[in-house]
């Protein structure tokens, strides 16, 4: 079990800092990352990807807000990629923005990829992915309920876990529990 640099947050930084032999899993994942990045950039342009890196051997891309749904549709339908099986969707509250994370798997090719998008904390919104993957319908409602991030063009944007009259969004870091 090699100890060096299992989690390489950005692939380029890893090559500079550790000249020691790289874990084969990191190598394989870096190749995938470059292939997928190339395809997305050739379809949507350089500006589509804001950040790219490896998080625990999964190529992770931060996609520009407006192109989020289009990139997801492209990843699902492109014949060499075919990412059709969504595995996890989560929202996280950072200091300046709220980030949506979706991890998808390709059942034909066996790769994983994760795409993220960022929205503002106040009245921010992200395009909905429920037209691409029906799985995202309820997950997006949960993110709206607990974090307050809107999803544009969602067919049914309302709270799912808390009462409709609830004030506030509990999973935010500045939420105060009132009783």
């Amino acid at each position: 079990m090699s100890e060096e640099n299992k989690k390489a947050p950005v692939a380029e930084k890893a090559a500079e800092e550790t000249p020691a032999p790289v874990d084969p899993r990191v190598e394989k994942a870096t190749t995938h990352l470059e292939i997928i990045q190339g395809k997305i950039v050739s379809e949507f342009g350089e500006a589509a990807i804001e950040e790219a890196g490896l998080k625990q051997f999964v190529p992770t891309f931060v996609i520009k807000n407006e192109l989020y749904a289009d990139v997801a549709e492209f990843l699902r339908t492109e014949p060499t990629l075919l990412f059709n099986y969504p595995q996890c969707m989560a929202g996280t509250d950072y200091k300046d923005y709220i980030e949506v994370y979706l991890k998808i798997h390709s059942t034909t090719h066996g790769y994983d990829v994760a795409i993220k998008a960022r929205g503002d904390r106040d009245n921010g919104s992200v395009p909905t992915l429920s037209s691409v993957y029906p799985y995202c319908g309820w997950e997006e409602r949960e993110i709206y309920d607990l974090l307050g991030l809107n999803f544009r063009n969602h067919p049914d944007m309302r709270r799912i876990l808390l009462q409709d009259e609830w004030n506030g969004h509990p999973l935010r870091k500045d939420y105060v529990v009132r009783d």
């Binding site: 595995q87 996280t92 029906p134 799985y135 607990l146 876990l161 009462q163």
Partner: protein
């Protein structure tokens, strides 16, 4: 009859109902006996586990994971512990891995028995409930001997398990496996050829593979459509690659296929337990882990095959001993999403059959 004015009725199948398997509310619009629309209302058991987890150390979150899918608590423990171990690159000891597998598979048998009992009770058969719970009590006795609790075990720790098997425990597990193998044909006989049962579940609530995959379903609901996806085989974790077992698949995704997959999975789990009993060796049950668990900064996701699907844990860590964000990918929540689609155009009586076959546990739907 053509001149009669009929209206659509909005009915509430309320949070307190014997057959909703917990506090789930369905607002259905019915036209006569046919359901035209269905809107599940969730959140009656939303306890804020994810928010609480941001204030707790990783080991302190383990009891909360017990209470998500309270019928299969061992697998929930395993999900969290596996995620943290993969993130920190900790390898548990061999004996701990085998003890984990034995307990998770025994818990799978108990959970599937509970499914059989309650599903058949929903459909109107009273006796299988009593038989299933009687067999389940034997499994819970084994759990009491090893970790002291019947339902919420809090058994696994990061790096291993908390308690070793006491004297004679492994032999009693072996006896139980033999007992269960003798009893299963009797449970099968109770309902298998029953015409009423067949009429109620065959062809009811069909799904296609593409639908199931697009909805992100996992577990028996996905395998009943014929798609071979078992996290234990496709993304092996722990020591599952050392066992030889089959993955039961259905054909059409209807309620009968799901019922049949549950029954077959009990047989397969007994196979795994027997092989684990043959392979387990004496040894330490806890690896060397730091006193305070600090996951390095980054994002990690890993899933295990829980009783109802793939239970995934997504950790965003800043390097502290408490997670910045802990998201639980809960299979019951996701499997429930397809329900309005399945119920449209179906009879009211089929609603009970389809909802039961989806095998949800509301603690996991709401978290």
């Amino acid at each position: 009859m053509a001149g009669l004015r009929t209206e659509e009725l909005t009915m509430n199948i309320g949070p307190q109902h014997p057959s909703t398997h917990g506090v789930l509310r369905l607002v259905v619009k019915v036209d006569g006996e046919i359901i035209t629309d269905c809107d599940p209302v969730l959140g009656y058991l939303h306890r804020g586990t994810e928010k609480l987890a941001e204030d707790l150390q990783y080991t302190q979150i383990i009891p909360y994971t017990d209470r998500l899918d309270y019928v299969g608590a061992m697998a929930n423990n395993h999900a969290l512990v596996n995620a943290v171990e993969k993130a920190m690159d900790i390898q548990p000891t061999d004996r701990a891995e085998y003890l984990r597998v034995i307990n998770v598979e025994l818990n799978r048998v108990a959970s599937h028995l509970l499914f059989l009992g309650t599903y058949l009770l929903d459909l109107g058969a009273m006796s299988p409930f009593l038989y299933a719970f009687h067999a389940r009590e034997k499994i819970l006795d084994l759990f009491v001997k090893i970790c002291g609790a019947r339902l919420t075990y809090n058994y696994m720790r990061i790096g291993g398990v908390k308690w070793d098997a006491p004297e004679g425990w492994l032999e009693s597990v072996r006896e139980f496996v033999q007992y269960m193998r003798d009893q299963m044909p009797m449970y099968d006989e109770l309902v298998h050829g029953n015409e009423i049962f067949h009429n109620r579940v065959i062809g009811v609530g069909k799904m296609t593979q593409e639908e199931a995959i697009a909805y992100g379903m996992s577990g028996i609901n996905l395998r009943s459509t014929g798609f071979n996806w078992d996290v234990r085989k496709n993304k092996p974790y722990s020591v599952y690659d050392r066992f030889d077992f089959d993955v039961p698949l259905g054909k059409t995704g209807d309620c009968y296929d799901r019922y049949w997959c549950h029954v077959r999975e009990i047989w397969e789990s007994l196979k795994i337990v027997e092989q684990a009993l043959d392979q387990i060796e004496p040894g330490p049950i806890m690896a060397k882990v730091p006193k305070i668990i600090r996951v390095p900064a980054g994002e990690y996701y890993s899933g295990v095959e829980a009783m109802r699907g793939e239970l995934g844990v997504y950790i965003v860590s800043e390097g502290k001993d408490k997670p910045y964000r802990l998201k639980l990918h809960r299979p019951s929540f996701i499997n429930l999403q397809i329900l309005p689609k399945l119920l449209k155009g179906n009879l009211m009586a089929n609603m009970v059959a389809i909802l039961g076959a989806t095998d949800i546990v509301v603690g996991e739907v709401d978290a």
